[in-house]
Symmetry: C2
Subunit: 522 residues, 2 copies
């Protein structure tokens, strides 16, 4: 089922990658910041008001009717967004409808998929869905890793996904946008309604470039739906449904800080590092995510900021109660937010004008006149593996299984100081490896690796090494940390058993080139 | 100087129009809602973050440097917006700079020009500016009418201007955006700073599609400038200047209601008409503009709404203190606003989340999946002339002189009930004529003409005629009103002396076809 018998070439990172994926040619990765060919953006068809009801009412009776009106056919590309996360009921309902209409061979282009979408495996098996281009978290990733998907997965970062739409690399036939609030014209937002999820930015490119845009809501309000994060002027059809999903899984009521002593130690190290490196200054900016370590780091950093009287200019979300508290307490001027992870994040985005919704275009797209990611003074990210050259993996585990999406991870590597926060081992498998199973981020963009056993600074960052030279922090080489951990774990991770002739998915770099291949696990 | 010896054809409105304007072919008007050819939108070149500074700082030292970086050459198209209105100093400064650089033959594409731009006549004379495509209010219109402009003017509505950019009909080489507040990345808004003007929507299309976008500000703030009505991701260069213009002329401190008894009577008639026609209902919507009659109408309507306990769902701006008071008093849920006419409008837009900035894309573009204009229950507009078939003119006077822009006037004709508020004569020249000097709006879209001498309902609107059948309002035929006014004024308006072989400008319909020609005045 996986890509076979295609030409594989060695790219600039020394990885073998196919030159054709799902019959579409792709260029191999040719280095960070490489010169790119001249091209123009996708040019959507011009539509006219004469095709739409003058009273602005685009409501149709159900999803099936909307899909019929959109001209659904075999082999089309259908996109969805993941702001409803693991509470999303709409995507499963969508493919039930597509299946019932007898349609097959769909390319599904989600901004991410979640465990709740395990339900869709039957449609991958029966051919309703040909393949997925988008992150495959958990069960769908495992399904692909086992070589069971009919086509080849294409993994893009959030910015890369927007770029691919904008550049015309991915033409979306029909975008289906879950909207916690919408009006009959198609204006939509995610900040109100019982399925409120925060921003809707991951659906922005879909709404701008898809041939047909269907907004589905469980909270229909009279025109105008304010704010309109999705513009009705881009929308073809509106469908009202009883429920978009399970609100308790769309956002957590409350996000959780790690309780693991090792992980708290990592968080402490990072906060101290950020202070000692002179990054924590008035007007600085950072992004830390919503994982357990990241939240612990945030609390540590907050204390240091208060103690030193330091105020940030902006913090990038995903937002949580911990970020919104910093905004309320005057520790930052702004939160710039791509997704809300808890109810406080949603509430703050709705009510606080200094908590601002962003999109993959503003924040992450590499094919833009600059973006927000490269302005960040420091970003704290995770990884599944990192090698001695600081190259990192974020999608597969050392057993070769594809279990995570890229998210904004690759895009964030553009930040001024990129810190990977990683426990030195997981389930007795060392995280520091000789060669990452899958290359997602080139080591030249990763500045610091922080484990509970020490902090490794990339030798390229002589400035950081100099600044931390007198520090009490356990600054070590990455090789030292690796050796110690291998001693604890009883050696290096077992090499996965991969079928190297069978590529089940490829990883794109932010510029659209292919940086690595993911192989079938035997 | 004007267009000569080009092929003229009679369009669907019976008007002679050129098929080629400034060497570009244009289709003649073929009727309201006519079938349109299939086409695709303009496809701007893909740009990359690698071309822009990673720290987001796009500041250059002055406008000249920005223009040089943008590759300014002879014959380019340069766009500006008119949110600074008659207080705009930037556009004159821009053309001083272009002139000093020795550049000629510029096509100037403003969203509107004002009397303060009379200064630019010298650059129209010396060839720095080849011609203007955009409204020419006052002196520049007179200059064009006298046949002195080197090229032919093209007049578009606000929606038509956005459409022309989006459709690739007008390719902007360099957009120069006056920004009352901006950051070094190019994010910009008009709601703060000493040159605050309200929305910046007229520059939206320019920022999205121009090859190079230059943001010029007199209030530079650190990233991020929030809100960002113009997105820095679309901006190439940022220039800081001492002053964008004269704040007292950018917005009026206070907008003025008419004191003329005749005009107050017109306002009273319209308010009564709107109530008796059953339009003034809970959840209704309207747009009235900021002219003296319009404001008087607003006050009249407000009293009727209060008396009847009626609340609007939304009111379309241009905003004034009279609109913002209605929002504050709970007489409308929302103001949807394309431009602010006084300081209260600016303040409310900045501070009240239910006062929302709109753009010509959301509000007016005919090449969109619907727009806001057609959803309005009633719009009150002006006109310079109207004929017995309700055809109307808004750009020339009966002497043939081009003195006004179209603004959103044509776009607003999509509303459900379109009312023209016109004094029956001006300077003893009757407004109701046998044939309008210039056709801007087809009579089939104009429902009611209200003068101080009576109200004429378009015979096509049998529903309105029926609803008003028992009214005490002076409902009359348009011919009756014409006859009475001609009696007062001593006959019909004198026909202008026009050189019909010399077209100085054309008027586009919202779909891009040419609806009429404007001739040189002898």
């Amino acid at each position: 089922m996986a890509t076979k018998a295609v030409k594989m070439v060695k790219n600039a990172a020394g990885r073998l990658v196919p030159t054709v994926v799902n019959d579409v040619p792709f260029a191999p990765f040719s280095g960070v910041g490489a010169k790119e060919p001249k091209r123009v953006m996708a040019a959507p068809p011009v539509r006219s008001c004469t095709e739409f009801p003058a009273d602005g009412n685009k409501l149709v009776k159900d999803l099936k009717t909307a899909l019929q009106n959109a001209g659904l056919r075999n082999g089309m590309t259908i996109s969805t967004h993941h702001h409803l996360r693991n509470g999303d009921a709409l995507t499963n309902m969508l493919f039930d409808t597509i299946h019932a209409m007898g349609i097959t061979g769909i390319r599904w282009y989600p901004s991410a998929s979640f465990p709740c979408h395990e339900y869709l495996i039957k449609y991958l098996q029966d051919g309703t869905i040909h393949h997925i281009e988008g992150s495959m978290n958990g069960p769908l990733g495992r399904f692909a890793s086992e070589g069971k998907m009919k086509g080849t997965g294409v993994l893009r970062s959030h910015g890369g996904r927007y770029r691919a739409i904008q550049d015309g690399e991915v033409h979306i036939d029909i975008a289906v946008i879950a909207a916690p609030t919408a009006d009959p014209f198609g204006n939509a937002n995610g900040v109100t309604g019982r399925s409120a999820c925060g921003p809707l930015g991951f659906a922005l490119g879909d709404s701008e470039y898809a041939d047909s845009v269907i907004v589905v809501t469980d909270n229909l309000v009279p025109f105008p739906c304010v704010p309109w994060h999705i513009q009705g002027n881009n929308v073809d059809h509106v469908v009202a449904v009883d429920s978009l999903g399970d609100p308790s899984k769309i956002v957590s009521g409350k996000t959780q800080v790690t309780k693991s002593p090792d992980r708290i130690l990592i968080a402490q190290y990072i906060a101290q590092f950020v202070e000692e490196a002179g990054i924590m200054q008035n007007g600085f900016s950072f992004q830390a995510g919503a994982g357990g370590i990241n939240l612990a780091f945030l609390l540590q950093l907050k204390e240091r900021m208060k103690k030193n009287g330091v105020k940030a200019r902006f913090i990038r979300g995903g937002s949580t109660q911990y970020l919104t508290e910093m905004l309320q307490e005057g520790l930052t001027d702004y939160i710039l937010d791509g997704q809300a992870f808890d109810m406080e994040g949603v509430r703050s985005l709705r009510d606080n004008p200094n908590h601002v919704s962003t999109s993959p275009f503003t924040s992450y797209s590499h094919h833009s006149k600059g973006n927000f990611a490269s302005m960040l003074d420091v970003v704290v990210l995770g990884a599944t593996e990192v090698d001695l050259q600081f190259n990192a993996n974020v999608v597969t585990h050392s057993d070769g299984l594809l279990l995570h999406g890229i998210g904004g991870w690759q895009d964030c590597l553009a930040g001024k100081c990129v810190i990977l926060a990683v426990p030195s081992f997981r389930d007795r498998v060392p995280i520091i490896v000789d060669r990452v199973t899958t290359l997602c981020g080139p080591g030249e963009l990763i500045d610091v690796v922080v484990t509970e056993r020490g902090i490794a600074i990339n030798p390229r960052r002589k400035d950081l090494i100099r600044k931390l030279s007198g520090s009490a922090l356990p600054i070590r080489t990455i090789a030292e940390i690796q050796k110690e951990v291998e001693g604890i774990c009883g050696g290096k991770p077992q090499r996965p058993e991969l079928s190297v002739s069978e590529v089940v998915a490829v990883v794109q770099w932010v510029d659209g080139t292919i940086i690595d291949s993911i192989y079938k696990v035997k």
